[in-house]
């Protein structure tokens, strides 16, 4: 808003940068400290007076880590289940959103209000029954148990409906006159036009399921099926006395995601601003 202040008050600009830098330091420091500590020996971390850098970086910590933690497996499980959930949410949300936006059918309004109502239900209210259902289905400690309850999103349907409803009907009618099938219209006309919305919804869904903890904690028991947050949780007790290894494990779990974010930050932030204002 204010281009005028900094021109007149050079001191104001200095304070501005100092505040921004202070904030950024607080934001970045925990990550930096995690990496520094991950290169210390277990003894160096507890030294008094404290040391700020390892005498010699212990890269061996990372090797030791991979010997007891199946990092690759954790990554595979997180990618696989998050990928399935993103795919399911995007497909189901855009198909249902398309139907609600561009078709007339008996019960449309009632069903849409139903979706609006379910959007407001917090996860903890349905946690116990959904866990019970999944257990009755025999899905405890399986990928299905982790993935299937997350394949649909009331919010996603709502979001996609809002985007698709603003597409001109003429486009769809023209395609129909050309003899395109309903599925073809969806795939060839609707999906390409709502790609930005799909990207946003996909990003949100991915971050949500990638970082999810409570549901995986309930459903998954075996080490082979653990996702990254569950891996961090089990390292917490495994490395209770080896903070250096715990930090190495946490770094391995979060740094790659941060790098992806830094490369794609423009899209992330655009999408978040978009939904924030829409909501």
């Amino acid at each position: 808003m204010s281009d005028h202040s900094s021109r007149l008050q050079p001191m104001g600009a200095v304070v501005k940068y100092l505040v921004l830098f202070g904030g950024a330091f607080v934001m970045v420091f925990p990550f930096v400290w995690m990496i520094i500590a991950s290169l210390m020996t277990a003894g160096e971390i507890q030294l008094r007076p404290p040391v700020w850098l390892p005498a010699e970086p212990q890269f061996g910590n990372y090797i030791e880590l991979t010997e007891s933690i199946p990092i690759g497996r954790l990554y595979f499980n997180s990618l696989f289940t998050s990928g399935l959930i993103v795919f399911g949410v995007l497909l189901s949300s855009s198909l249902a959103g398309f139907a609600f936006a561009k078709y007339r059918f008996p019960g449309r309004e009632a069903l849409f209000y139903l979706i609006l109502a379910t959007m407001m239900i917090p996860f903890f209210v349905t946690l116990i029954p959904v866990f019970f259902i999944v257990r009755q289905l025999g899905w405890i400690d399986t990928y299905q148990g982790l993935v299937v309850p997350g394949l649909t999103s009331a919010y996603g349907i709502f979001l996609m409906r809002q985007f698709i409803v603003s597409l001109p009907d003429e486009l769809i009618d023209a395609a129909r006159i050309d003899g395109a099938s309903e599925l073809r219209i969806f795939w060839r006309i609707v999906v390409p036009l709502v790609k930005p919305a799909l990207a946003t919804l996909g990003t949100f869904t991915f971050i949500g399921s990638w970082n999810a903890f409570l549901w995986p904690l309930l459903v998954i028991n075996s080490r082979e099926l653990m996702t990254l947050p569950l891996g961090i949780n089990s390292m917490k007790s495994l490395y209770a006395d080896n903070t250096n290894l715990l930090m190495a494990g946490t770094a391995v779990a979060v740094i790659p995601m941060l790098i992806v974010f830094i490369f794609l930050q423009r899209y992330f932030i655009k999408g978040i601003a978009l939904t924030g204002l829409k909501g």
Partner: protein, 314 residues
Amino acid sequence: MLMSSHASKTAWWLPEIPKSALMRRRMLWAYVFVSAPIFALLVFLLGPILFSGWVSLHRWDMLSPVSDMPWRGLSNYSYLLTKDPVFLKSLGNTFLFAIGGVGANTVLGLGFALLLNSRIRGRTIWRVLYFMPVITAPLALAVMFSFIFNRNYGVVNNVITAFGLPRQPFLSGPSQALMTLVFIAIYQYVGYYIVIFLAGLQGIPQDYYDAAQVDGAGKWQEFRFITLPLLRPVMLFVVVTNTIGALQVFDLVFATTGGAPANSSMTVVLHMYNTAFKFSRMGRASAMAFILFAIIMLITIAQVRLLRDRTYQD
């Protein structure tokens, strides 16, 4: 907005079957498109919430058959509200956690957004740095901060003692645990609210500020009479979503204090989790969920009423 294209004169609950075969076929496709998601929402959301309400009126350990649940009426609710000190404690903690986190995130989020919206170099870089914790798993942040705030070898205590001040217990101190969690929650989400506020600020037309300058308005007056009123919808979004999220906090508390010491940092969802999955009291845990759900709804309604745009009513 919903029924704008709905030209029919019949009521919405009466089926309205199209005359032509072509229209009927299109209608069938629409049902195909919505069937799977609707089915999933019924099974994993709507059915469960009804079932959860039913369970909250019973005693149930999840192992005995659903048909044999002993009826308890409202006694789960009355027990929680009058006889369960941990629940009341967790409710108070959750409120404090939400008030602290939402207040700080709103003020800091708006403050930093204003800074980033002024003439500044490297806006993208600042934004990225502030946003990093938002996309990091809460579990990872919990582990990082448990170490940073450790009583014996945490870096914060190392700095404090270097200045000759006494060590602080932080997460392990009954009077400090909850406040430390509030700090971590602010750290975690402030970047998100900065981005939201920044988008809101960038949506305010520069003309308004130019006009205000012509009229001789000062910085504070610009903020008070242009920025704040026009940010009202964004403010509402930030306060409502942040409150709803904060009242449901689980991961962070589970992985740092676990509610300790002496339940001083116990929150409702963590207490509910323990009640259900440690002590197998599904009825009581479901009642807890409904009480919190009702509280969240009431608070949301109150916030919407207080903060919604009243330009046309005043």
